[in-house]
């Protein structure tokens, strides 16, 4: 009996390459290509009066300088709206190059193509843009104020969209409640900040009108489809390859960023390969941000802390444009109820333009805000009613027998939000046992007696993962017995080359390192959606499983004919297909691949034997390739889920605040997590640990400091504080496993989970330590100082 690879902490197939410097990121490709630098808007809101390029004329090596005036046809139109919605009535997207008006600092105004990047930068800095500056609206709540400056000159206010929804009867619930509370919560922006910025290499070949694009995108198939349409090219001659990608976290899922259109456009225009590599400052001011919400919440409870009704009115910061539609606030609204049974719930949100970098999903995507609001609500109810925070959670949980559970609001895919499975109270028990909650509270009381500021925070979340519409896998068995798997969705470090190999390994009986996975290359598979929303393992994993099952079926048919046995008697192990009970009777999987493609001519010893086997099969049938069979051992299968699947988890943190420095010391950070069946525990733990670090960063260190003129004051790693190893504590991980009944493998997604409750747990812990509500995030030592010493 061979060990099942599903569930094992298999070492990663991609690691030897990445560890030896042989990874291939976009900037590692085509060093001879012409290089691009961009001129970006300095003001956050302005009319462009003039663009003077005369200073560039004596710079050797400049190949071209382009502004909006150079764009024609569809290239001169606003970039596509990716996700329309009935509630999105001002769906503004930006132009590839700014047209008359710039609406955020960082918006692309001109493109320089030059022999190398040094020269391109020289030319970009010699271009003078004359602006007529316009009133700026930078603050989210200011943007909602009647009479506020408008982010776009042709609009009367800043509202781009509005959605409301209700379940039950909130008014009646409030009227019946023993207690009705009103609270406000706000969360500032955050940013993904992958260590590799975005990058593009475009190679347009006029001779056959083909385009090959290397792009650090999370969605190569979408980029390909969009570019084929925009360029008017045969889609089969447009290919997008997402090679190794240095982190994405949602930021790289947008199609298109302006550069993604402009770089191939320049390649076609100039007839040479053209390349752009984003630098860090560009990433701060030119790649999308997220978060940025303000909530007004009403909640009605009984005397025991049970929530009878709840409503939130909230604002979402779209930034200057909204190509990703209303997805972020929709997710916030859909996931706010978390693990709690709230019979009466109502929300309304407005999506507001501001003169800042546009927003789109960043790891967590609307959920960190939702969880922060809900979990602060729970803690505040506990405080009001003098109940324990864990007990209030317990009293409101959806029970283990209530699944499938209809949350009663619309999910991000447009369908209902229906939880597939969950064991929320068990999860809390696991968390509290691991924390030794009673003891932790006793220690906190002792610390308080000594005048020390200790706090405990809990944050519970439910995360909708694994949304459709579909994902696919193309599997092929090669003559040497190795297996190739091609996926349409790209990897940004999640270990696709390993986890999907594990699934194939189990089904086909080949070693994990004999399964070569290529992800995100449209030359290998044309259909796919992308890596986002914690969906790759769920949707892609089940597609891989389906494809592997199909290959096994095909291989068994061929092997059965060759070995003259029944297909049901065959077992797949160690690269061989054996007959059960007859150990000597076997055929290699690679041989089966060879004889699946009937050959007239042999090449090499193995194929000679295979040809003889094929001849035997031929002798029993009237055709070398029986009806209904295709040559080769390969297939492409697709999996389309009926709905999302809902992972859950809870974090607890114990902190102490240093009264002198107002810094946080994280004494313990405990995680309970449930993502259904786990393919590779090592990789799942890595996803959670990395997510936790981003959650802590977003709660306490990373703040995008915009001033009231829409200028990002800290657009560098010197000033924007991503935690180092010295800031991130040792995290204690605990798992439960509640499989999803909705897919064959029982998987739920995990990519975003670790980040989601970060702001909630830190806010709750600091509130607990200070005895003062922390209802705007992120916080910093300065905020704590103000609370402690300025009243």
């Amino acid at each position: 009996m061979t060990t099942r690879m599903f569930g094992q902490s298999v070492k990663r197939n991609e690691d030897p390459r990445l560890l030896t410097g042989k990874g291939r990121y976009v900037d590692d490709i085509e060093h001879s290509a012409a290089q691009v630098a961009f001129v970006r808007s300095e003001p956050a809101h302005a009319r462009i009066i003039d663009i003077d390029v005369s200073g560039t004329l004596d710079i050797d090596g400049v190949l071209g300088i382009y502004t909006y005036e150079d764009l024609e046809g569809d290239f001169a139109k606003p970039l596509p709206l990716l996700i329309p919605n009935d509630g999105l009535f001002a769906p503004k997207t930006q132009y590839a190059l700014a047209h008359e008006e710039v609406c955020y600092a960082g918006e692309v105004i001109a493109m320089v193509v030059a022999k190398d990047r040094y020269i391109a930068e020289d030319a970009a800095s010699a271009i003078r843009v004359e602006y007529e500056t316009l009133p700026v609206v930078a603050d989210l709540e200011e943007a909602a104020r009647p009479g506020a400056p408008v982010a776009h000159l042709d609009m009367e206010d800043n509202v781009s969209g509005r959605v409301s929804e209700a379940k039950g009867d909130v008014d009646a619930a409030m009227a019946a409640a023993s207690h009705v509370y009103q609270w406000r919560f706000s969360m500032e922006r955050a940013a993904a900040m992958p260590m590799e910025g975005r990058g593009i290499v475009a190679h347009y070949d006029e001779s056959d009108q083909s385009l090959l694009l290397y792009d650090s995108t999370q969605a190569p198939t979408g980029v390909r489809g969009g570019l084929a349409l925009l360029f008017g090219l045969d889609p089969d001659r447009v290919h997008v390859v997402a090679p190794d990608i240095g982190g994405g976290f949602g930021m790289k899922v947008i199609q298109f960023y302006p550069e993604e259109v402009l770089v191939p456009w320049a390649s076609r225009l100039l007839g040479i390969p053209v390349k752009w590599t984003e630098d860090r400052r560009e990433d701060f001011i030119g790649s999308n941000h997220e978060r940025g919400q303000a909530h007004e919440v009403r909640v009605g409870t009984d005397d025991e802390g049970r929530i009878l009704g709840m409503e939130t009115n909230f604002l979402n910061d779209a930034g200057a444009y909204c190509s990703y539609g209303l997805i972020i606030p929709i997710i916030t609204a859909a996931q706010m109820q978390g693990p709690y049974r709230i019979e009466n719930f109502r929300y309304e949100f407005r999506n507001l333009f501001t003169n800042k970098v546009p927003t789109s999903p960043y790891r967590g995507a609307g959920r960190p805000h939702a969880v922060y609001v809900m979990e602060r609500v729970i803690d505040k109810i506990a405080l009001e009613l003098e109940l324990d925070v864990a007990e209030v959670r317990r009293r409101n949980f959806i029970g283990p027998n209530e699944f499938p559970y209809d949350v009663g609001v619309t999910f991000q895919d447009g369908g209902p939000t229906i939880y597939d499975s969950g064991e929320y109270e068990r999860g809390l028990d696991v968390l509290l046992d691991a924390l030794d909650y009673g003891n932790a509270r006793a220690e906190q009381r002792k610390a308080a007696e000594q005048g020390r500021l200790m706090g405990i925070g809990i944050g519970y979340y439910v995360e909708g993962t694994g949304i459709g519409p579909y994902e696919g896998a193309a599997i092929k068995v090669l003559a040497d017995g190795s297996v190739t798997v091609a996926l349409g969705f790209s990897s940004q470090g999640q270990g696709h080359e390993t986890v999907f190999a594990q699934i194939v390994s189990d089904e086909l009986g080949v070693a994990v390192d004999k399964v070569k996975v290529t992800s995100g290359d449209t030359r290998r598979i044309g259909y796919g959606v992308g890596t986002f929303a914690s969906r790759s393992a769920v949707v892609g994993g089940n597609a891989v499983f389906k494809a592997a099952v199909q290959i096994r079926k095909q291989a068994a048919e061929v092997a059965a004919r060759s070995l003259e046995v029944a297909a049901e008697d065959l077992v797949f192990e160690n690269g061989q297909i054996r007959v059960a009970g007859a150990p000597d009777l076997s055929v290699g999987l690679g041989q089966v691949a060879l004889i699946s493609n009937p050959l007239r001519y042999a090449f090499g010893e193995e194929s000679q034997e295979a040809v003889l086997l094929a001849q035997r099969a031929y002798a029993q049938s009237d055709r070398p390739l029986p009806d209904g069979m295709r040559p080769g051992l390969e297939t492409a299968e697709f999996y389309s889920p009926t709905s999302g699947v809902f992972a859950f988890g809870a974090h607890a943190v114990v902190i102490e605040i240093d009264p002198d420095t107002c810094n946080l010391k994280i004494l313990r950070y405990v995680v309970m997590h449930d993502c259904g069946a786990v393919i590779n525990p090592m990789i799942v733990e890595g996803q959670i640990l990395g997510g936790v670090a981003q959650g802590i960063g977003g709660a306490f260190y990373e703040r995008l400091a915009y001033d009231d003129q829409g200028q990002l004051q800290n657009a560098s790693f010197m000033d924007f504080l991503i935690p180092y190893a010295t800031e991130i504590p040792t995290v204690e991980l605990h798992h439960t496993e509640t499989k999803s009944p909705l897919n064959p493998l029982g998987i739920k997604g995990v990519g975003e989970a670790g980040t989601i409750p970060g702001p909630a747990v830190i806010a709750n812990a600091v509130s607990d330590a200070l005895g003062r509500p922390i209802d705007s995030m992120p916080i910093s030592p300065l905020d704590i100082y103000a609370i402690l010493y300025k009243g």
Binding site: L19, T20, G21, D27, G686, G690, M718
Partner: protein
């Protein structure tokens, strides 16, 4: 040497044991010369202002930011990049093997910088306190792992080296 803008100077440097003579402009960064001129793309550039540490290489044995070093400054220097770490093409240095074993990398972008920073210290790492080891790598940013796997990997590399030597003898 004094160079005017646009002028090149010839420098000699040794990279992973191989001597190179290269004409460089005064403003060319070592990171660009390693990546684009010599073609060693294992050294990555994450911020171009010396904060993230992705571009760390060894210059005469000491970790240094190749994005904050002009190539012309390294005339006569011996440089080690991630490509110079493993003894053979298909093998892994104990430190690399330990990163793989402890899941000390995800996207792999920051990894070369961590490896080069850890190279001079990993043999002492088992005796270092958690705080000391964290401080020792606190010039390197990782956005994927939360550092747990990296810390374990650096701590575990010496053991892998010992067991390899044990297996040889």
């Amino acid at each position: 040497m004094a160079l005017n803008p646009g002028e090149s100077a010839r420098i000699e440097l040794t990279v992973n044991g191989i001597a190179h003579q290269i004409d460089v402009e005064a403003r060319w960064l070592l990171s660009d010369v390693l990546r684009h001129t010599i073609g060693l793309t294992g050294t990555h550039v994450g911020c171009e202002h010396g904060v993230c540490g992705c571009c760390t290489v060894l210059i005469d044995g000491e970790p240094a930011r190749s994005c904050l070093t002009f190539a012309v400054q390294t005339d006569g220097a011996a440089i080690t990049t991630v490509e110079g770490l493993a003894a053979s093409d298909d093998g892994l240095h104990p430190l690399q093997e330990s990163f793989r074993m402890h899941h000390g990398l995800q996207c792999g972008y920051c990894t070369p910088g961590f490896l080069m920073t850890a190279l001079p210290i990993y043999e002492r790492a088992p005796e270092m306190s958690d705080e000391e080891l964290r401080k020792a790598i606190s010039g390197q940013l990782c956005r994927c792992t939360g550092y747990a796997g990296i810390l374990s990997a650096i701590r575990g590399a010496a053991e892998i080296e010992r067991s390899r030597k044990g297996a040889e003898s």
